[in-house]
Symmetry: C2
Subunit: 408 residues, 2 copies
């Protein structure tokens, strides 16, 4: 079993890096704060005797190799150490330092392994510059042309931020690791949802990642005085409201209780109390594990938009921002996780991930799966994010046994 | 009958003051542009031999008095010459220069009148600083304490803007005109709605002004990841959406086809695609001529908010921003307008005003009513605002005959 005290001191040490006075941590990718966390990670990896490599994307790997360890494709476990602005202490960090703790335990026990085992920290998972930068590059899906002009919200160029850490962005394609060198990838992560907490379970065996279709809905109507009579209006916000209402009521009939819809961004023009908006716009984020549900929702959205636009003489534009299909994780890796939790006697359930994770990028390339641990009230990406110490211990123990099963 | 050519040259001259290169006019109250329009108006009034007075609120009056004109309470006709940013050529201007044209016609004919007749231009109708400043002060509803700290959207103080025009804001209470000095007030205005245009009518006899209840709706839910499962969310925007949907469906049953609802201002926090909003806020503007309809709508809104808040553990706050009760205009003034249009043989209808006008403030103080002329497509407060020259001529003729009936 792993040493929770040793792991806990790592989690606390990293949580202190980028800590904001008002609570939460800010360790955007390639920031000075994240650089400090990178240094801390590399030092711990070296203490453990791992062979440390930082690739061209800024991904950090620590490899347990050598005496008593077989050759061939590696089993990799990890996550990320960057954070959103004002994020929590566990998101990403748990998966990296939990994996490191597993490797420390393997080394302490001088475990004999058929395969090398690695801990990985992937760069810019949280999209300061380019979401999943590290895992995209690792799986060969990213070249320099795609990132040459990328900036963060403040206009800082990714290329410059990488250079400040000694990384040459123009070499990013070189971060690709051939698939045949990877036997499996396992990511331990907090749930970022309340299901496990609500059901009183510590462990979720993540067998699938929801697909994520994201759209921008833009209605161009006719701005007019709020005193105009109700008939004959072409109020862009009212049309957007009706489009959303129609869509939500249709989606309720989709038969998929896991289908989620989030409208996170909303804007109207001219945004004045006494003026009917001429333009109304919002984001529309749909997530489901069932490919047909997402496709049907998109088709219905497009149909409803067309009908409303024609009915009211408005222009309604639906643009796709993101189209990630659902992913079924590798059955053998899922089974290894489930068996590990079973052997430890932990109550568990199969669960879908609604959030995006490095494992969903890597899982399209090599066999992968995830372990979730319970988040109190399902909170994440906020200072209140909390996973109980006992759940962390259980999660890392499951990861440990899974790695032993896959590499041992 | 009035001289449309003479009037047209005034309208064109004023439309050139504050004209923006991109179209529309900007003559905010007490701006240098509005000052130019004031000067133009005063010059035309003097040419007509009117006795010109600017009161302590910056309202301008031109009085036809003296030989052949009786004593006692005056009949006043007018509107305003300030504009919104990028407004149209007719809103307000028509009512002032139309009235001036009527007085010119009376003077040309050396009409014998039982009562003095005045043309009035009321200050800051369009709320650069304080909506209806002029008509509030004129009817004794405004003291210095209410305006001492008022600024425009750019932080310019009303007191300073008035001083630049030689007006002493601290004396504003002195703008009150005793009600017994006013026999009636008539305002000619463009419709700011499409009803007359749609029905092919030139003239609307405005017998009532809709009441206007305006609220701020604020939902405080719980911000969470867009990847969280659908159950157990407390997404502030989704709750706001449901509140609006519930309210709109109940209002549809109000039995008042004139009830209008405008949501002109919308905001969510943190306003990020991948995050469920923790806070969602909007304005909610309701207009109806029926007092019970407005009161019931408010009660239903409050009930729905309470139910939703309890159901989802959110906080929903409804704050009142404005509460103007509906106003029935004076029956005798309405009848005089209707009779004038009838004598001229113009097709007309009774109509409610949905927009706010000086006449609705003044109509709570002395007998008043309004004449609407058709707006092409109902557009207003925009460069596209247009009233046909023939409709303007008809509207001013109705105003002329109405003044003759009330003062002659």
């Amino acid at each position: 079993m792993i040493d929770i005290k040793r792991l806990w001191s790592d989690i606390e040490a990293v949580a202190a890096i980028g800590r904001r006075p008002e609570g939460g941590v800010s360790r955007g990718a390639f920031s000075p704060q994240e650089q400090q966390a990178r240094t801390y990670l590399v030092e711990r990896m070296r203490e453990c005797g791992l062979e440390v490599v930082t690739d061209a994307a800024g991904n950090i790997f620590g490899r347990l190799d050598g005496e008593g360890v077989g050759e061939g494709a590696a089993v990799i476990a990890g996550s990320h150490i960057d954070s959103v602005e004002g994020g929590g202490d566990y998101d990403g960090v748990l998966g990296v330092f939990g994996a490191l703790e597993c490797l420390r335990t393997l080394r302490d026990r001088k475990a004999r392994l058929r395969r090398p085992v690695e801990v990985a920290a992937f760069a810019d998972e949280e999209e300061r510059f380019y979401g999943f930068l590290g895992s995209y590059a690792f799986t060969g899906r990213l070249g320099y042309s795609e990132i040459a002009e990328v900036t963060d919200a403040d206009g800082v160029r990714l290329v410059d931020a990488m250079q400040a850490l000694g990384l040459d962005a123009s070499a990013i394609a070189g971060a690709r690791r051939p698939a045949e060198e990877i036997h499996a990838f396992v990511e331990l992560h907090i749930e970022q949802g309340p299901i496990l907490d609500r059901e009183g379970l510590s462990i979720g065996v993540v067998d699938r990642v929801k697909g994520n279709y994201r759209f921008n809905l833009r209605v161009e109507g006719r701005s007019d005085h709020a005193g105009a009579p109700p008939e004959g209006r072409c109020d862009a916000f009212m049309l957007l409201h009706r489009l959303i209402a129609r869509q939500l009521s249709r989606q309720a009939e989709s038969g998929d209780p896991e289908l989620s819809c989030t409208i996170g961004r909303v804007a109207v023009e001219p945004n004045i109390e006494t003026v009917q908006p001429g333009v109304a716009e919002c984001s529309f984020d749909l997530r489901s594990s069932v490919p047909e549900v997402l496709r049907d929702a998109q088709a219905e959205l497009e149909r409803a938009a067309e009908e409303l636009a024609e009915e009211h003489g408005a222009a309604i534009r639906i643009s796709s921002i993101l189209r990630e299909e659902p992913l079924q994780f590798d059955a053998a890796v899922v089974a290894a996780i489930d068996a590990a939790a079973g052997e430890l006697g932990y109550a568990r359930r199969f669960i879908a991930s609604g959030a995006g994770h490095d494992a969903q990028v890597i899982g399209r390339y090599v066999p992968a799966a995830m372990i979730f641990v319970s988040s109190v009230d399902g909170r994440s990406h906020c200072p209140e994010e909390l996973t109980r110490r006992e759940d962390i211990e259980r999660g890392v123990n499951v990861l440990y046994r899974t790695l032993v099963a896959l590499a041992g």
